[in-house]
């Protein structure tokens, strides 16, 4: 991160090599075009440089921090661009893997993520997908489904805690 802060070429490229693919994939899946995915990737790494001084490894992992930046930026854009046809979202277990080589750490991260998500019921999974990938707020889901706002928030929290516990089991 110090290298990134200094604008060091090798540090930026190392970070890019590690995280460009999941960030680009998120852009592609949420925003629906290669052009938007490229813009998002560029914006995310620039934002990472701007916020690098605030990253504290004791508070969380670099991968989470960067994916949170990427996701927040993608959702902001998704919510702004109303009327855009949103892409169909496909989780890795529903789609054959691309034949191109994928970083081994990324594959491990993805496998762990899929196992954690598998701990959710179908209803919980659909609920989180609507927020995470479609940018819907709890209030919007509450209005769409005709259920109390508090119930939606409780279910979201409960689903995330399940995934968190599954993540913790993976680590232990």
């Amino acid at each position: 991160m110090e290298g990134l802060l200094a604008g060091d070429d090798a540090a930026i490229r190392a970070l890019y090599a590690r995280f460009a693919r999941p960030v680009y994939t998120m852009g592609l899946r949420l925003l629906g075009s290669r052009e938007a995915a490229e813009e998002l990737t560029q914006d995310v790494f620039v934002t990472a440089w701007r916020k690098a001084a605030r990253f504290d490894p004791h508070r969380g992992r670099l991968s989470t921090w960067l994916m949170t930046i990427a996701h927040n930026q993608a959702v902001d854009r998704l919510r702004r661009e109303t009327g855009v046809t949103r892409p169909k979202l496909v989780l890795v277990d529903e789609m054959p893997e691309s034949p191109q080589s994928v970083d081994e750490d990324l594959l491990l991260e993805r496998d762990a993520a899929l196992r954690a998500i598998a701990s959710l019921s179908d209803a919980e999974r659909r609920l989180v997908l609507r927020t995470y990938f479609r940018g819907m707020t709890a209030r919007e889901i509450s209005e769409d489904d005709g259920i109390p706002l508090g119930t939606v928030k409780t279910r979201l929290r409960s689903a995330l805690i399940k995934v968190r516990l599954a993540n913790q089991k993976e680590l232990s």
Partner: protein, 258 residues
């Protein structure tokens, strides 16, 4: 915000969909509350799992790496020249001082509605005249690399007005100053955003309090480029648009008579 309220918002915060003002307050809260910070980090980690679970659909193009490196270098450049930051801060202070000098007298008339309204209109015009005439000064301090855009903000409902300025530099570490008037009674915080012609928006910041005349002056250093961003929107706490305007490159105008 207390812990109970923060915990209520944290799941949406972690999933990136908390409404703007809630997200701002949660961010502030977790800076000072270790327990909520841990909860936020844990939930964000859980949320990130969904990002990692996405199926890859081809690798990014090879050219993208170079674009990213160049983009980071572009924004990293000012950090290597701290004197530039000092100069930009000086510009912002200068602009803010001129605006406050033009506008800050409105509160004297608090409680006298009609005079207040007239005063608000006058001060808005004075502020607008002041900021559009700042071009030469800012250019002189900031050099040729500095560009100033400005414009009036008009009320949707006919109540209140304001002005806005953006100071653009080659280092893409731009600043924005907003002056509002006559918004007494509007629910705060007011959220200021600016968008480009393609509809991309940047949340600039919030105005947390208004003076008795419903006025405020705020300046932000954005650490991002505002190039192409010209449409300014000010919303109240209910997300209703209260002021709106379009900025343009400066042309000098005469100050209104007092």
């Amino acid at each position: 915000m207390n812990c109970s309220t923060a915990r209520d918002v944290l799941p949406e915060f972690a999933l990136g969909v908390a409404p703007g003002e809630d997200a701002d307050q949660v961010e502030l809260h977790v800076e000072t509350c270790a327990a909520c910070r841990k909860e936020a980090v844990d939930l964000q980690r859980a949320a990130a799992s969904f990002g990692y679970a996405l199926a890859a659909d081809g690798a990014p193009p090879e050219s993208l790496e170079q674009h990213v490196v160049q983009a980071v270098h572009e924004v990293a450049r000012p950090a290597k020249h701290p004197h530039l930051r000092g100069r930009r801060t000086g510009i912002a202070l200068l602009v803010a001082a001129v605006l406050v000098a033009s506008v800050g007298i409105g509160s004297v008339f608090a409680g006298r509605e009609e005079r207040l309204r007239v005063q608000a209109e006058r001060t808005a015009l004075a502020a607008q005249a002041a900021i559009v005439n700042l071009g030469g000064i800012v250019q002189g301090v900031g050099g040729r690399d500095t560009k100033v855009l400005s414009g009036a903000l008009a009320a949707r409902s006919g109540v209140g007005n304001g002005s806005a300025v953006t100071i653009l530099t080659r280092n893409a570490d731009d600043q924005m100053i907003v002056v509002v008037n006559g918004l007494a009674g509007r629910s705060v915080p007011l959220a200021v955003s600016i968008s480009d012609t393609k509809g991309h928006a940047i949340d600039v910041g919030t105005i947390h309090a208004l003076d008795t005349a419903g006025g405020a002056t705020r300046a932000w250093e954005l650490q991002s480029s505002l190039k192409g961003f010209v449409d300014v929107t000010v919303r109240d706490a209910h997300r209703h648009i209260v002021l709106r305007g379009t900025l343009q490159a400066q042309t000098a105008v005469a100050s209104p008579s007092p």
